[in-house]
């Protein structure tokens, strides 16, 4: 047990997009800030930084979470996938292709979060209808209002077999 009178930092060893990263962190650096400021993975966006917008969505052990509300220290021994880890060997993920084809973004700021959320949504089998897609994408806001095209991109990808490449 650590002594309770010290302000402690901890070493976190985390698999990020398949690469092991070892970092020393305290209790106030979030996964989002670790990714962007210390590891240079700026594809994950900081929108509200308080869990309201979804722009910072990443996968933690395969499940979608908001990286602004996860401490980097909590990720020790776990796997993180960011938007940079989505395309395999330079080939876009089917959802990325569908987003391009359906013009599912305008300014693009929310797009990384939308995509990571959509990847998880397909994994959760929540693309049964447009209404279900909308409900289970509700944690990702788009101020440009690209929602209809986001829904159609997800619907098409789901109909084509989801994550299969």
């Amino acid at each position: 047990m650590k002594t309770p009178d010290s302000l402690d930092s901890t070493t976190a060893t985390t698999q990020i997009n398949g690469h092991e990263r070892r970092v020393t962190v305290d209790g106030q650096i979030t996964l989002l800030d670790l990714l962007r400021d210390r590891l240079g993975l700026v594809g994950t966006k900081k929108g509200c930084d308080q869990g309201a917008c979804g722009a910072c969505t990443v996968l933690l052990d395969g499940r979608r979470v908001l990286s602004c509300l996860v401490l980097a220290a909590q990720c020790d021994g776990r796997e993180v996938t960011t938007i940079e880890g989505l395309a395999a060997d330079g080939t876009l993920h089917p959802l990325q292709e569908a987003f391009v084809r359906h013009d599912a973004f305008q300014c693009g700021f929310c797009t990384s979060g939308q995509l990571m959320s959509a990847v998880a949504l397909l994994d959760e089998n929540r693309a049964g209808s447009d209404a279900e897609i909308r409900e289970f994408m509700s944690g990702n806001l788009c101020r440009c209002g690209a929602y209809p095209n986001i829904v159609s991109a997800i619907r098409e990808t789901a109909q084509q077999g989801g994550e299969e490449r």
Partner: protein, 330 residues
Amino acid sequence: MTTVGYVRAHDVDEAIALVTADPAAAYLAGGTTQLDLVLKDGVVEARRLVDIGRLPLSGTELVGDTLRIGALTSMADLAEDPVVAQRLPVVREALLQGASPQLRNMATIGGNLLQRTRCRYFRDRSVSTCNKRTPGSGCGAVHGPARMHAILGATEHCIALHASDLCVALVALDAILHLQGPGGQRTVPLTEFYLLPGDRPDIENVLEDGELITHVDVPLLPNDTRSGYLKVRDRASYEFALVSAAAALSVDNGVITSARLALGGVGTIPWRARESEDVLRAAPATVATFRTAAESAIHDVFTVPGTEFKVELARRTIVAILTSTAGVQS
């Protein structure tokens, strides 16, 4: 900004010892509300976070006719639990109408119960008046613009809302909390866990220093009981309730034989509507009965200009959930 330390607890006793020994320490579970309060808003002062996220307190277990839920079970996992889906549909509905998919993957059941109010006067440190944050400073919400605030259990000292959806269902079902602290273990009914603000809105529940919620026991509903959760809000998803209601009814030959009703979005604590239950029990399952029950639930209200609409909205919400749960034509 003060530096915040981090330590991960390896067992329940260690976690309790760490937080009990250090007045500046606080538990960190899912983090979805705690990190906002500590790191982003600076509303909760903690210089050390004790991470309990890996303690063996997740998952569910059937104990007789009770579902025992580990306090670290995620909202998403509990919503997908087959026993919850079959025997506690009101819990599943409340969970799935709360937060967003990302937050439900992160947030824990214990954390949901202990979430702090979303009152903007509480969450904005630049606001000087908040009796919950700074006892004796006054209530900004009572005298300022208010909308997402309580009308039941509220006083001139505090109209902050308890915003959980899950708790509304759990209060209706008479859930029991298992607590563990430096003094040992104890159980507390959820209906006796939260404290009305009175003149001390900073004291929100009966938890003692260092005490943890370890499990939540939820009695399963009888097979002939139907239940449901209705949430009325400003946008269709990912929004806190203006008003919500959890109901569980058994109806035999058009007569209500058992009734449970609790309300969200209106109370300073998750609100059990016992007067309504008394009206419903042994009464005919008709819209007229439901309206009488709704009237009896919403009385002795404390409103401010921005919350008056909730009186009628709450009554209509009650009638709607009772009507759909009983399967009655409206």
